[in-house]
């Protein structure tokens, strides 16, 4: 749903049949005096199974040592490498070049503070969002008796919580969000999903009244314009559209009380 059609790895390609790629990168280094935003193209030969992780590293090693980007796990699980790939936010590390055309355009995620080139500060944004939403489980008691059996939970409920806990905070939903472009303080689908996750968790002591205080305004769930690009671009296929709609209904209920 979220990504382009996946084509199986091509069967053995005879030597010399690899495509020539042109990777165009939106470059700007705010740290460097005189730097202005501009597009820069890098040509390279495609390799079998090449991902944007491999391609960008090859460019940096062989062509341009100054190119900035972020990769950590390079396995699609940590969320570091989100960028705008041919106009659409996605995870660069798991994007195979064979699923793209020969001209590939890369830009940093919008909304987040730019560090340089394709690198943005998602960490700072996520921490601020988390602090604002008190995005941690509010326990019944701080001191636990760890020697006793754990509290029970229905297996289906644990699976449901995990479903929402799969978010990797990559920032794609925020980058694709109309509201986030207009309101700096919008908590985004990532924030609303967070609250939805704690809301269904019986270990969290907060009630809908408490959650209303956190997201019952334009900065929260009522800021969403239902454009729902967040849902389309989420690399983890999180059910963001249903979660936001559900939270809005619940919060409207609290607001009308």
């Amino acid at each position: 749903m979220s990504d382009r059609t996946v084509i199986p790895l091509r069967q053995a390609t005879a030597a010399g049949q690899h495509r020539q790629l042109s990777i165009r990168v939106l470059r700007y280094n705010p740290q460097e005096p005189g730097s202005v935003p501009h597009m820069q193209a890098y040509d390279l030969e495609e390799a079998d199974g090449m991902t944007l992780f491999i391609a960008l590293n090859e460019i940096r090693e062989k062509q341009d040592a100054s190119l900035q980007f972020d990769f950590v796990c390079r396995a699609g699980i940590c969320g570091s490498c989100a960028m705008v790939i041919d106009g659409r936010p996605g995870l660069a590390c798991r994007t195979l070049t064979q699923n793209l055309g020969t001209v590939i355009t890369l830009a940093p995620l919008p909304v987040f503070e730019l560090i340089g080139d394709l690198s943005v500060d998602t960490g700072k944004w996520m921490r601020a969002m988390s602090e604002h939403l008190q995005g941690w489980l509010h326990m019944k008691q701080e001191e636990l008796d760890l020697s006793r059996l754990e509290e029970r939970m229905e297996p289906e409920l644990a699976d449901k919580i995990y479903e929402l806990d799969r978010c990797i905070e990559c920032g794609c939903c925020v980058a694709g969000c109309g509201t986030a472009r207009m309101r700096e303080d919008f908590v985004g689908a990532v924030g609303l999903n967070r609250i939805a996750r704690f809301r269904i968790d019986p270990r969290d002591t907060r009630t809908d009244d408490d959650f209303y205080e956190l997201i019952g305004d334009d900065q929260g769930v009522f800021g969403c314009m239902s454009l729902l690009a967040c849902h389309d671009v989420c690399p983890k296929d999180l059910p963001l559209a249903t979660q936001i709609a559900f939270m809005r209904r619940k919060m409207a209920g609290v607001g009308l009380k």
Binding site: D3, V6, P8, N29, Q31, E32, D48, G49, T51, R60, E61, D64, A65, S66, L67, Q68, D70, F71, V72, C73, R74, A75, G76, I77, C78, G79, S80, R94, L96, I115, G116, S119, T122, G123, K124, M126, R127, S130, G135, W136, L137, M139, L144, L146, S147, R148, L149, E150, E151, R152, E154, P155, A158, D159, I161, Y162, D165, R166, I168, D201
Partner: protein
């Protein structure tokens, strides 16, 4: 000169670092955590299959307890582990799972009643107990007698990191992101903090602290083919080595994971085999039972990886344009199971291989996976050489893994180590004599030294390229210091690495910016990495035996008589090109489980002279103990409860071991009377 003063400086924002930070903060100390990346992006998130803790909730885990977990871990380590530390670990692991459950980790839970599972290639129906319903579930993993691995689908590390990172935010612990420690500040055997570089602005900042704790993870990127994230370069271990004072333990003990997708090296969890997946060769034949009749696909990782490479060498590999591989077959587990419990594996196969593991076999081959060695610490997590320097998690050689770590024990160690060491850091900071007393001149000296190194890269006119040297290092390590090792290869690797280290002292940059500059980062890191690579290669060359993951073709037997000892490396002079090695013997007479056969792998080893004596002694204690409770018996064999922080002492409740019945004669009761 900018100086930031805090009580506790944690270097590394993964599970171990965050949990240590939370522990110290709860004790009332100020904590600052440094991280190369936002904490939730740490490599801890990559732990897929689960965390070992002997809860014994599932029916196949019934009868599990600390004793069984202890024995599995020691056998897995090939008797290289510190058994007291293993005891501390296995006793705290259930507490860690329960703490994380309370913090919000959505552990997969037991569903009462019948369910179909795959065991040894065949469908079997097992029945979960009513009284286990809703408790944390366990799956099977390699090298374990019981199903012990607690999990959240196949995204366990991610879910744990979410909860622990959230708690760090709840405790208002600042995490300074994109900050890299370049050197530890120390003098006269006391660590005082670190010189830290801001990776965005390039500014050097001094962080001064009572306690400095390294939790920077492993060094997988010393190798070309590794499951490790790109940030796992071992530089946190290297800055301890560069003090010339702190010791680094067992760096030659490097684990290779059997199932990493070929050729990208991305991990697919051991849970695939734990849940019933099989390894197949070019003919589609399941080959592991021929090599390992006892544990088959579920022998320990070092054994399975060697058997796979052996099988490829016997001509049974699958040839592809990237080289040879074998197959991991999880098709027999069925779509429902894979979609629920192995969905990250499915995603990885889909995105990186373009295949669907519900119907396709996965091409796999072993790759570097884990660094058993690290900063040598005592049981409190503190360096015995450099006071005030602590370490936990993969960066530490606390030493619960010895020469081979069991699957599910690493992510468990991150939180357990974090809990335990966090308390000891609290104790350390409570003592008035450990207050910071430090001259700014000393701080300035360390800062200027690091600044000078950076200036040399930028303005020194060096001609060597950092990335080229790094690539050569990775190729050398992969070709000559891999799964199968022999003297001549290792000697060549040591020589090659020394040459690279000398060349690295003449690195120059093409891009000379002082702020964000990936080439500058590669330059200073590769010097550190080469020193660690030399610890690995030289340690491996010197250790003329095979133990756990360290396998010498020219010395294939484990030799307890000569080598039941831990390698300790130091780097006394900056211009050295080899580490200085020393060895710390393990005392057989103190072991609860004296050396023997692991229960899988080769049965051929040379005994330590004391082994027979200790075996007889242990047998006598066990016989005399008769029907005594297992905790009482354990206490007589090797007391350890006193070593734990008080809040983590004592037994763990299980369905089959209700706590109320155990109060009388437990080790805790004994420990507390003293």
């Amino acid at each position: 000169m900018r100086i930031i003063v805090t009580d506790v400086l944690v270097i590394g924002g993964g599970l171990a670092g965050l949990r240590m930070g939370i522990g110290a903060k709860r004790r009332g100390h100020d904590v600052v955590i440094l991280s190369l990346v936002p904490p939730k992006r740490s490599h801890s998130a990559a732990a897929q299959g689960g965390m070992q803790a002997s809860l014994g909730n599932v029916i196949k885990g019934q009868g599990d307890n600390e004793d069984v977990h202890f024995e599995d871990t020691v056998r897995g380590s090939d008797w290289g582990a510190d058994q007291r530390v293993v005891r501390m670990f296995v006793n705290t692991a259930p507490k860690a799972v329960r703490e994380l459950a309370a913090w919000g980790v959505p552990w997969s839970r037991v569903q009462k009643g019948d369910r179909d599972v795959i065991i040894n290639g065949a469908k079997t129906t097992i029945t979960e107990r009513d009284e286990a319903h809703g408790l944390v579930a366990q799956r099977d993993f390699g090298g374990t007698k019981k199903w012990r691995t607690c999990y959240v689908s196949d995204s366990t590390g991610h879910a744990m990191l979410n909860a622990v990172s959230d708690q760090a935010i709840a405790h208002a612990i600042p995490v300074h992101e994109r900050m890299e420690a370049l050197a530890l500040i120390h003098d006269a055997g006391r660590c005082h903090g670190a010189i830290v570089r801001n990776l965005v602005s390039g500014e050097l900042v001094a962080y001064v602290a009572k306690a400095t704790a390294v939790a920077s993870g492993g060094a997988g990127r010393l190798y070309r083919a590794t499951t490790n994230a790109v940030i796992c370069e071992g530089t946190g271990i290297a800055i301890a080595l560069e003090t010339g004072v702190a010791t680094i333990g067992n760096m030659e003990a490097i684990q290779f994971h059997p199932t990493t997708i070929f050729p990208a090296g991305i991990l697919v969890t051991e849970g695939c085999r734990g849940d019933g997946g099989l390894l197949r060769d070019v003919d589609g034949k399941r080959f592991m039972p021929d090599y390992e009749p006892e544990k088959k696909e579920l022998a320990s990782r070092d054994v399975v990886s060697r058997r796979m490479e052996e099988h490829i060498q016997s001509g049974k590999g699958v040839k592809s344009r990237f080289g040879e591989h074998l197959w991991l077959d999880i098709t027999l587990l069925g779509a429902a199971h894979i979609d629920r419990n192995l969905r990250e594996v499915k995603d990885i196969c889909r995105y990186f291989l373009g295949i669907d593991p519900i119907k396709d076999w996965i091409p796999v081959r072993p790759s570097q996976h884990y660094t058993m060695g690290g900063i040598r610490t005592n049981h409190t997590g503190e360096s015995p050489m450099l006071k005030g320097l602590f370490a936990a998690g993969e960066a530490a050689c606390w030493d619960m893994h010895g020469f081979n770590r069991l699957g599910g024990n690493s992510v468990a160690e991150t939180v357990v180590g974090g809990m335990i060491v966090g308390e000891f850091i609290g104790d350390f900071c409570d003592r008035p004599e450990n207050n910071v007393q430090l001259s700014t001149a000393l701080i300035g000296e360390f800062l200027q030294r690091e600044q000078a190194k950076i200036d040399t890269f930028i303005d020194g006119g060096g001609k060597e390229e950092a990335n080229a040297i790094r690539g050569e290092m990775q190729d050398l390590m992969t070709a000559k210091v891999g799964i199968f090792r022999k003297g001549e290869d290792l000697a060549a690797a040591v020589e090659g690495l020394q040459a690279l280290l000398r060349r690295s002292r003449n690195i120059g940059l093409r891009y000379r910016a002082r702020g964000a500059n990936p080439e500058l980062v590669a330059a200073y890191r590769v010097q550190k990495m080469l020193k660690l690579a030399l610890c690995v290669a030289y340690g491996a060359l010197t250790r003329t035996e095979s133990r756990g993951a360290h396998f010498r073709q020219d010395f294939p037997r484990r030799n307890d008589e000569q080598w039941l000892k831990r390698t300790l490396a130091t780097w006394p002079h900056a211009d050295d090109t080899l580490p200085t090695l020393a060895w710390e013997p393990l005392d057989v007479m103190q072991m609860e489980l004296p050396p023997g056969w692991r229960g899988y792998g080769t049965k051929d080893y040379v005994d330590h002279p004391a082994t027979a004596v200790r075996v007889a002694e242990v047998a006598a204690i066990r016989e005399k103990g008769g029907e005594a409770r297992r905790a009482t018996l354990q206490e007589q064999l090797m007391p350890f409860q006193d070593l734990l922080p008080e809040r983590f002492r004592g037994p763990n409740e299980r369905i089959d071991e209700p706590l109320s019945l155990r109060v009388q004669s437990t080790a805790t009761a004994t420990a507390r009377q003293r």
